[in-house]
Symmetry: D2
Subunit: 344 residues, 4 copies
């Protein structure tokens, strides 16, 4: 039985790890760390876990922690302060925050407004978009789990970009997210009265997930790709939908692109390509680790629209983190993750 | 492996059975019956099941169906037309509809406005509030699965009524339900624009679940109990909360009642009594088979308020149906049902 | 033109006063006071008012303020500190907070946990449930505007209680409110992820509106009435619905009670009695100053259920405050308030 | 007093006309026509209008109707059957449906799938985007009121397109709408359980508003413009937000574009340009006739993003129709429309 700890235990990411690991037959949770709630019973914060989780919140004492792996489900600027000591103690880390995603410290600084992690750990970290990454127990010690928007975006763009089918100058990502992506911390922006029955665009040109998307696409293509990315806040709790507009660089049919997507993902259990003419809705993946993708090609104008949906807390965070753990240790890819969407 | 069929396959109850049975290690779904969609692929109606469910919708051909048990997740007035033939073929039935819940045909008729089932089957049916019923493979062939409101209500009233603590003349049940309880059929009442950001009471004095609650309480007490029951429609998808007001027949403390509830349910894995002063919220059971209960006693005035919550599609329908199946066949009570609530 | 000031300008109550007074032909807003945002432009806090409101937020300088009337749309424990000086300067006050509602300082203290206002002002304040109060420009200087729940409750109980039709020992008020009632201040309880798709009861037996309801009913009947009152938080922004359960003290028909309500309110433009068998929904009064009421009598058991709905920010706060102003100065009762509900 | 009739009286568009005309001092409603509900009392369908609207629903008897103007708040394929007779009787028409918007009958047919109106009336109709159209009582008899998406889109694109600042090949409109845009008719797509907590793109490349947008832009520029337009359904009742992505044809600054928008709309009371860096939210115009616009320029890449919001039932339908009536008859432009947004 693999023993794990979860840092950031009082947040939504941690709670979702707990829900999913409850179904996992090869992992047991040994620690739930929360700085702000150390000593408290978890059911005071999350009464829905009453009796199911006996562990109290504790403080991460990095010199004495003993387990195989630690998940960081924290805001940015936390994990980077613990990484050296954890790796020294041979504890692997899957980091759900942004600390180790951006390789270029200048870029990190300009988007995150904070000092980046030490370069040695940035180099060492494996940005693991689970469908396409290579991680293994021997050589991988630090996984940077992708952000929610990048996950939905990159899975949708992967077949087009790797097959050199699109113009790099016109990649437009119109992203929409449920409110839980902002976490459990209080803020006027996610106060019920301000968000319910309301819809807005935010952080135009400045969202932290922009450099993450650009870095991945640039590495894939050995070029320097810039994207236009606009997130929107939707009055619902869970779900991300991205609508991606691209210019095709050659004359291809709807049929062709559809088959390309189907072939690209035929062995990937969590990516489901919808039949032509059908587009996925966020509720159709709610609570599950699926990423569903729909395709539209305007054949006259050589433009394509790709629509992808995920549950931001599962495939966009905790579910993918467990999928990464499964890959890391060679477990079945869907261990702990074979849950059907909760519908309706 | 137990083989089951599901009738009413295109409705929310059936879809929830499919989601939960997906986690069940001793049951496999052999048939999904839908009269209106026979011949169609299930993923046309429910794209979220793409690839997960390979069965098409078929018509229930009662003379040739071969399986161990059939769930009816249908509106009322369906199952009663098939019951004779299914039982003849030694196929057990768990009926999620109201057809076999009400023993008194006059009462049934006045609330349901339809002809009741044949008396012989009404007699034979086992109304199985899972925590308190007695069913077994040998003698039970027909289970009437309780309605959603009665489940939340009766679990909350059980300790008080069986311990003769309350005045029978003043039982007031103010019930609130999410919209999914009305099913997937179209109606002005559940049209988005009419329900969202809106709140209403409905069917005052005439809801079908009234006689079901009264029959159960009356049987428990060998008396003739009448209740006041008012359902309300809440702008959310899942969840029922009942607020039950009773007059205590003797002078008892908050503490006493709380301990009584804890003791009553100490061996029941799906009923969770909240600590004194804490009241459950519907989201704290969403997607799970739990019924959570909170207690308040106005010691000065000898009045108690019991608050109970369930997910109407799980504990209030499909989850309890599987719990009943588990009891019927002697499986672990939480087989297929050990899912934590989806929070947030 | 009557000149008014609004204290608590950055909250939802103030914003609603501004929206409604924008339609009022005899009142102009001279000041918008906000302690926390003094000096800021109102459109920074409320971009929806861009260009419409030119006033900045200022600090209430009670020694120099010059206007006819001041509205307090503040939390409790604010207005009582300014009342002496404002009345000294011949400025009338309509207080939307609870500071001057409760006449008994002990009761106030036990529910509000704070020191009450000076007794001289408690005595002087006019608790003005607008349909039934008597206020006039000559003798009324301080109006305590009723709370949202008491408004919906008392308008519904008034005909029954004044006609001595109900048993005083069994008045049960099951109240449901949209989230905006909690104001704009941040709190975990009204964080979007915690409230959306969720439903809960809160403050059982301890809500501040309990003594307000009891005081009014007790005064009306010259007796000492206690009620059972349970508020619930509904995942919607605006709206209150109360479901009130009473025992009738004599044998009366549905018809009789209905006519009584119709007659009682025939001259009251903002109270609308629904036809028998019809029950109001909160959206049917949204954005308007109406209180709609539906009636059900269980003639066999001599029990009645009254359902009333209001918009908590209009009839339950700012709208009623303007109605009170209209009565105070002898303006048309619906001046500034003749807006139809926003539907859907 | 101008006398008007409303056709399609049982739909949301008609109800919104009634709400707004209630505030209009120069218009009285003489008829409310509803084919399906003729003879019924309006309060049976819309209890929120109880007592406020005394007119029953009647059938449009086009040979005897006597009034100045008729609004059609109907689905497509209704108004075109009545237009000849109404114009013959010197009754003006403001049509909120799509029947008279598209001048090219082939285009109409391919998007609407129906026979277009007679060419003579298509020629005669004035497509009146209220801020930029020219209508007057003498020569205008038939106004085609713009669709909801085109209104939000065209007001946002107008300054850029008329100043020849954008590349015509890369106009991408990602539009999001609340559910009320689909009207009150029942459909699986707008069933509460299917829409709530869900998000989807729909009608990619085939929405009826595409040719309307293209026709207007093409006329403005005397060219043949094609756009990419994708609508999304948002789980809220009211509100449209469009996010429009364009490539700038020359090197211009954020500042320059912002001033251009401010100047373009300085005399237009219903279009509000937000300060640089601020983007409008749909709730900030809810219930009002405003269109709010925010601007972002990526100066490095010569790309601009324009965000516009409207209330789909007001500025996107009934409000603009009244604004058009005001212009037609020379009334004050905001007569009946000077309502502040309902916030929160």
């Amino acid at each position: 039985m693999l023993e794990v700890g979860i840092v950031g235990g009082s947040g939504y990411g941690a709670i979702e790890l707990i829900r999913l690991l409850n179904q996992h037959r090869q992992v047991s949770i040994k620690y739930i760390f929360s700085h702000s709630k150390a000593g408290e019973d978890i059911k005071n914060s999350y009464p829905h876990l009453q009796d199911n989780v006996k562990l109290p919140f504790t403080t991460l004492d990095v010199e004495n922690v003993e387990c195989d792996l630690v998940f960081f489900a924290t805001p940015s600027n936390v994990s980077k302060h613990f990484i050296a000591q954890l790796l020294d103690r041979n504890i692997k880390v899957i980091d759900l925050s942004g600390d180790f995603r951006i390789k270029n410290p200048q870029v990190y600084k300009s988007y995150y407004g904070e000092k980046p992690a030490e370069q040695t750990y940035l180099n060492q970290s494996n940005y693991s978009l689970a469908e396409w990454s290579h991680v293994n127990q021997k050589t991988t010690n630090l996984i940077a789990n992708p952000g929610c928007f990048p996950t939905a975006t990159l899975l949708a763009l992967y077949p087009l970009i790797t097959n050199e089918l699109i113009n790099h100058d016109h990649i437009i990502i119109d992203a929409k997210t449920g409110v839980s992506g902002a976490g459990r911390s209080l803020s006027q922006n996610v106060h019920y009265g301000e968000v319910n029955e309301n819809l807005s665009a935010y952080k135009l040109g400045s969202h932290k997930h922009i450099p993450e998307i650009e870095q991945y696409l640039s590495e894939l293509t050995h070029s320097n790709i810039k994207v236009t990315f606009t997130p929107h806040l939707i009055p619902m709790t869970r779900g991300i939908l991205t609508t991606i507009y691209v210019d095709l660089s050659s004359d291809v049919s709807n049929q062709y692109i559809h088959q390309l997507f189907e072939k690209t993902y035929e062995d990937k259990p969590f990516v489901r390509i919808r039949q032509l003419g059908e587009f996925p809705k966020t509720k159709e993946v709610l609570g599950s680790n699926y990423c569903d993708i729909g395709i539209y090609v305007d054949e006259e104008r050589n433009k394509a629209i790709i629509v992808s949906v995920i549950d931001n807390l599962v495939k966009g965070a905790s579910g993918q983190a467990i999928q990464n753990l499964n890959k890391l240790y060679g477990f079945k890819e869907n261990e702990g993750l074979d849950l059907l969407p909760v519908y309706p």
